[in-house]
Point group: C2
Chain length 231, copies 2
């Protein structure tokens, strides 16, 4: 079974949804046969490499409120996160592009370190308020999970995996995803948003049954067997 | 979409079922995307290479009746066949093994001549009463559909594809088929016996819908989009 997750490293509900899915997977009897793949999604493709404002300032601008108003609006996500042990401190994190983080996630996938790097990046942004466009931050997150430093430097210095990031984003649109997190199970079921873990469990059960069918036999017509034909 | 058909070349309901499936396929809008594969099944693996009795004599012996009784019991199949333009004259055909015919069907599959050879063999047995173990009969059926004569001779002279025939027979048992024809669509649906063409149509429609799913999306939970997060 394959779960593809479109998400961004600066998306609070993606972080919360990740924990909820992990909880569902922990209780899923066939968890060892589930492959999880993170797909790229950029919440703000126009965000700069060199930050000019904080996350809360950017949201205030987008929503046409003041910074205090935006900060208030962010509170509910912070509370839900706190309930599952995540202490969000990203309000004042630099608002910056995330394409380089996604390029590293594609590199990490090749060496089976993608889930670890995803966690490392989310922690850097949400709990330490670090910039996802800062190459030093990205290098540190990559080093913490054991990614090859030389390859990381090489990827960050160029545009490697930029096409894979673009392809993921186009595919999200093709699948009808307008926001993230967006989960796709066996290219058959979609889950939009940070659903409760019970919803993940239901969809996992259903997808498992689908991919392990018993033959559904229509019988009762004339046939021939070892004892002759029913004629 | 893939339809696998377990059948034997001496099985009347397999011939009738073949026509009924063909009728359903003719009306199926996605018929160009359907692959049909014939799998081997031997109704009587103990049947000899050199015939010692006719089909009707063999059935009379099996059923514990006399030849006239067996002939009478075969009449219904003959009538159903006649209704779709097939004139069965196999009562007095030699009762012989079919493994060589199945081996040639495996050869034919490699060069996309399997359905043609199947038809050619069924016609030889059912409408001309020829022996399916007679290499001259098999050579003629193969030549009629354009199979390479040298390869046909090579296969008939040895045991090539005998393992493939055995594997098909084992697989039928694993799938729960005790008689033929037995149809398996996308390894998901089974159809046992020569069902009416409407039943084939129903299963084809259902299998097509299964293999061309729209994402079935669970929505309504917190998510982030281009305009920010629902927080």
């Amino acid at each position: 079974m394959k779960i593809e997750i479109w998400s961004d490293v600066v998306c609070p509900w993606c972080y919360i949804g990740k924990r909820r899915l992990e909880q569902a997977l922990e209780e899923f009897p066939h968890r060892d046969e589930v492959e999880v793949v993170y797909r790229s999604f950029e919440l703000d493709p126009s965000a700069p490499q060199v930050p000019v404002e904080s996350t809360v300032e950017s949201l205030a601008r987008k929503w046409g409120t003041d910074v205090a108003g935006a900060r208030g609006a962010m509170a509910r996500g912070d509370e839900v996160a706190a309930e599952i042990g995540l202490h969000f401190r990203h309000h004042d994190a630099p608002h910056a592009h995330t394409v380089d983080a996604h390029r590293l996630l594609h590199l990490a996938r090749e060496v089976d370190l993608q889930p670890a790097l995803k966690d490392s990046l989310l922690a850097a942004y949400f709990t330490r308020g670090e910039s996802m466009a800062d190459h030093d931050v990205l290098r540190k997150a990559a080093a913490d999970v054991g990614l090859d430093q030389a390859r990381v430097d090489e990827v960050l210095a160029g545009t490697e995996y930029a096409d894979a990031v673009e392809a993921d984003i186009r595919e999200a649109a093709a699948l009808g995803a307008t926001g993230v997190p967006f989960y796709v199970v066996d290219r058959k079921y979609g889950i939009s948003g940070a659903q409760p873990s019970e919803v993940f469990t239901q969809v996992l059960d259903r997808a498992w049954a689908d991919s392990h069918p018993q033959l559904d036999v229509v019988g009762g017509a004339d046939a021939c067997g070892p004892d002759g034909c029913a004629i």
